[in-house]
Symmetry: C2
Subunit: 150 residues, 2 copies
DNA sequence: TTACATGCAAAGCATTTGCAGATAA
DNA sequence: TTATCTGCAAATGCTTTGCATGTAA
């Protein structure tokens, strides 16, 4: 018996995530709960697999990279997080489930959210033969101090 | 002496590209001209490094992958093409220099252009401390026939 | 008990790099 | 001639996979 039975709190992202995990049929193992806590107990995040690995270590635990990747994939399929591909060589995982877009500061490798109400995106309707999955908007910027050519 | 001295045609994308290459100071070597021809003589394209490699081979030539990657990077820096990262493990290079956004059909791995006049994107103004580099809009869709969950 | 999950190490794969030889001007 | 470029092979770095072991219920 897993002892994580707290009362479901519809305003707590971690609580919501745990509920979705349980409902989905996958087992809420210790690793999955630890990762969910890191992901959802600290507000909206844009976190890489390696960041997660390090944060687990900071809690004097250890979860293998294989499990971290597996879990990130499962959480993505469950709709708990969203993968954002800002750079060829690194995926970030976004815990913000509200519609929003991203400001990517290239020289820092950091992502910030842009609330949707600041953006007005009128798309032509998607053809009936296609299922809309996602709309990624990434505004790519560089710090002014970093004035390398174009 | 490189024998590619045709009259500059301001309406031909290949001609424009060659001119920019010459003006930039990099040498318009045979490899660079072959790649520029493939990129710009066939209308707007979204092509991967491997696609390019294969198309060169179809012309009974051979250009090494290292050179292809080097050239794509240089052309990107020169502003001749734009790198679009649709998927974690593959970059595509876009020869369309007009402002536009992308429709990405995930199960096919294909990208189509969405003309800008079909989209109305009102962004909050970028803070003065940042240089706007690019805005990527990727509309991710799946074929209806491909009805895997979520 | 048993299906499912984890973790290690190895594999995979796109991309980059080091460097010797080739080439443009 | 000489700076620049090319191509091979090796290296890199993120991510995935195979498989033996562990675990939740």
């Amino acid at each position: 018996m897993v002892n994580n039975s707290k009362v479901y709190d519809p305003f707590d992202a971690y609580s919501i995530a745990l509920k979705k995990i349980e409902e989905s049929g996958i087992i809420p193992t210790k690793q999955r709960r630890v990762l969910a806590k890191i992901l959802f107990k600290k507000g909206n995040r844009h976190i890489s697999a390696e960041d997660l690995y390090d944060e687990v270590k900071q809690e004097d635990r250890k979860i293998s990279m294989a499990t971290i990747y597996n879990t990130l994939k499962q959480f993505t399929i469950l709709g708990l997080i969203r993968e954002i591909v800002v750079d060829k060589n690194k995926s970030l995982y976004d815990t913000n489930n509200e519609p929003h877009y991203h400001l990517y500061i290239e020289d820092e490798g950091k992502v910030h959210d842009i609330p949707t109400n600041n953006i007005n995106l009128d798309l032509p309707s998607v053809p009936a033969c296609l299922n809309l999955h996602n709309i990624d908007v990434i505004v790519r910027v560089r710090s002014v101090k970093d004035n390398k050519k174009s």
